[in-house]
């Protein structure tokens, strides 16, 4: 089976700083991969490379077997693919941000239907119908006509998830989707993500919610200083005796979910 996402030898430098130092990662289709690691270890950068918001300095990313952004020629050089090819591959990916990034001048429904109209060229009523169906999925059908400023953080993040889902991506990327939420609002977002995982969506989740990672993740990848130190099922990764760096990291995240692992 072809992996949904396959990353080989990924290096990302910002000027002198090497933020990703040769990442190899396979993301199996229909599974949840959780990226954990200390602050500054490069989790967001890796996810942003997968969404092509950041262009990797070296290495290759395949999405469903198709190269993302660059093709590697037989002699090892990278050439940039034409923008049409890039957009086609990219359209298989949905992205959810820590700070939601909803468009403030559009209602919840507008945020979800916008790309269906502008990019997919659907008529207004069909786009609105599909957008409404997505809002229903995240439990916000009766908030459709409110603007982001009128929604709670948890509701905004669910709209953002609906916006990404509306384009029917094969892979969903989440960058700390609950980190900017009050604790009592994280649950509703995590529940939506759980449902999505149960539906068989391929997901890559950067999260400090170790409990969520341990219970929903099929694969855990532990990133430290731009390198993938550990990778495996939650049982394998969290089993004692643990890798020293992971132990150190977990000590700093004694949230309720992680406490049960210690």
């Amino acid at each position: 089976m072809i992996a949904a996402v396959s990353v080989t030898g990924l290096v990302k430098r910002f000027g002198q700083a090497e933020v990703l130092r040769g990442i190899d990662l396979e993301v199996p289709a229909g599974r949840v991969t959780c990226l954990i690691g200390p602050s500054g270890s490069g989790k967001s950068t890796l996810l942003r490379c997968l969404a092509f918001l950041e262009e990797a300095t070296e290495g290759a990313i395949l999405i469903g077997g198709e190269p993302l952004g660059f093709a590697v020629t037989p002699d090892g050089r990278r050439t940039r693919l034409p923008s049409g090819r890039i957009r086609a591959v990219r359209s298989q990916i949905g992205m959810v941000f820590q700070h939601f990034n909803l468009w403030p001048h559009m209602t919840a429904l507008g945020n979800v239907s916008e790309a269906l109209k502008t990019v997919r060229r659907l008529g207004r009523s069909e786009a609105d119908d599909r957008a409404m169906a997505q809002l229903r999925k995240v439990g916000l059908q009766n908030r459709a006509n409110l603007y982001p400023s009128q929604l709670s953080g948890g509701q905004q993040q669910r709209v953002a998830i609906a916006r990404a889902l509306a384009l029917e991506p094969k892979i969903m990327l989440f960058d700390e989707p609950t980190s900017s939420l009050d604790p009592e609002l994280t649950g509703e977002v995590l529940n939506v993500m759980r449902a999505l995982a149960a539906d068989g969506m391929t997901m890559v989740v950067v999260s400090h919610e170790i409990g969520f990672a341990a219970s929903v993740g099929h694969q855990i990848a532990f990133l430290d200083h731009g390198q993938l130190l550990l990778r495996g099922t939650p049982q394998e990764v969290f089993r004692k005796p643990r890798h020293a760096r992971l132990d150190q990291f977990l000590d700093t995240y004694l949230d309720r979910g992680a406490a049960m692992l210690l």
Partner: protein, 222 residues
């Protein structure tokens, strides 16, 4: 000496024509200036570095010199580089460039006011660059830049008075000429000031109306 506005009645057709010229030049300068200013702001924000630097220098030159001097250089200096223009085209061109410099600075600040994440979100759902500008960046920055754009447009109306210096038959030139002929210079200037003031008020109210419309979309509540 009496304050008598009656003289204007005999010159009404000329005055109306001149007022029309002023409004036409103002509208053309504002419209073309805004369009050019938008392109300049785009070039400075998203264009290649050499273009951005070049545009930056031109904008600084236009903002750093008096409009009067720019007009003189364009009208009297233009022929030396093969650019001989009649007064009205020269006036519109001068006003357009002057306006574009200021508008571009306002719009550039507007571009910077749109959070990068909103643009990234658009890229993630497949928007092209132009679609992002049209559907996300322009509407979001509209609220930020509207007051400054209205302000600049008002200033521009008053700058059209400077065009009299290169013999554009606009309202200031025509009215003051009539005023001196009829020995009613003060009255003429009074009417002139009144005209500019009324136009500025109208423009200001239209601007405020536009701001309210934009505010109602929920943008401002954040």
């Amino acid at each position: 000496m009496t304050f008598d506005l009656g003289f204007i009645a005999q010159h009404l057709p000329e005055v109306i024509e001149a007022a029309g010229t002023t409004l036409m030049i103002w509208a053309a300068g504002a419209f073309c200036g805004l369009a050019l200013g938008f392109l300049v702001a785009l070039g400075r924000r998203y264009g290649p570095a050499p273009l951005a630097v070049l545009l930056g220098v031109i904008v600084e030159l236009l903002r750093g010199t008096p409009f009067l001097v720019q007009l003189f250089l364009l009208y009297f200096g233009g022929p030396f580089i093969g650019l001989s223009l009649d007064p009205i085209p020269a006036g519109v061109l001068g006003l357009t460039c002057y306006a574009a410099a200021y508008y571009s600075e306002i719009l550039r600040a507007g571009f910077d006011g749109v959070p990068a994440g909103h643009v990234e979100a658009a890229a993630c759902v497949g928007f092209s660059g132009w679609q992002t500008i049209r559907r996300i960046i322009l509407p979001e920055m509209a609220v930020l830049v509207m007051p400054a754009l209205v302000n600049m447009t008002i200033l521009l109306l008053k700058e059209t008075a400077v065009l009299s210096i290169i013999t554009v038959p606009e309202l200031t030139m025509v009215t003051s000429a009539i005023g001196s002929e009829s020995y009613a210079f003060v009255e003429a200037l009074f009417l002139l000031a009144l005209f500019y003031w009324v136009m500025v008020e109208i423009c200001g109210h239209l601007g405020r109306f536009a701001e309210l419309r934009l505010a109602r979309t929920g943008l401002v509540a954040r």
